[in-house]
Amino acid sequence: MAANCACETIDPNNPTGPKIDAIFPAAYLLRLYKYSPVDYENLRAAKYVLENPKRIFFGVRVFNQGGWCYTGHPAEWYIKERAIVPFPKDRVFAVYVNPNLQVYECRAEYTDAVDPLCPVDWQNRYRGLTWKSTS
């Protein structure tokens, strides 16, 4: 039976402090599992990005206050059923988390020309960069 799934990640409100749990909501997981199999497979990439983020952005929505976008670069992903390929260098994988730390969107983004670990146009899309990996 589907249940919420916690994933340890950097606290966007306190990036240097203890890690916190982001939550994959059960209903979201079940929806992807039942009706969107490739997206379900790519939850692996989402989990990897939450565990190994490279950038965290805040203020991701105009009409919904709060929320964050974690980005990173998984090694591989599914592009269609049974087709696993290296994750492209000119894309970044983004995981969107709402103010309750619930994951609601996981997808690739086109990259910024200067910093390929940022989604394109991030300066205008988000209110700012919360945290940046130094590794």
């Binding site: 009706y35 009409f63 997808r107």
Partner: protein
């Protein structure tokens, strides 16, 4: 590829089957539609619309409409209702096209936006409505 980290949890949930229909994601307050079971690369058009391009060949295969609750607050369910149902004792479904038009009206009428919204409106969406009862934010 190693075993999926959710494999044990999903063991009793039946056989997956891709469904090309729009659905309301309450955690993101957005409507999501994909017409193909492929990974997507997001092409953000504006604050309310993101087009999903296929990671396989870059063709548009879907979209995400954001800020659904704000649009409902602004227009009311009646303003987004499917016309044939609007007078039959409450709003049963809202129209995806009406939501898209409402989203378009929020921004500048640029050529890029017009093209993007037009391409989304031309998507072959079989189910063009969302049940009003589904539109409950998390």
């Amino acid at each position: 590829m190693e075993k999926h980290f959710l494999a044990d949890m999903m063991a009793g949930e039946g056989k997956p089957e891709f469904r090309a229909e729009p659905w309301y994601n309450p955690y993101g307050d957005c409507i999501v539609y994909k017409m193909a079971d492929e990974a997507v690369v997001a092409d953000r058009i504006d604050e309310l619309l993101t087009v999903y391009n296929s990671a396989v060949d870059n063709r548009p295969i879907g979209f995400q409409i954001k800020g659904v609750q704000a649009t409902i607050r602004k227009l009311g369910l009646d303003g987004l209702a499917v016309a044939s149902e609007a007078d039959a004792g409450g709003v049963k479904s809202i129209s995806i096209a009406a939501l898209l038009l409402a989203a378009y009206e929020e921004g500048e009428p640029t050529l890029a936006r017009r093209r993007a919204y037009a391409s989304v409106m031309e998507c072959s969406v079989k189910k063009r409505t969302i049940p009003a009862d589904d539109l409950q934010p998390a």
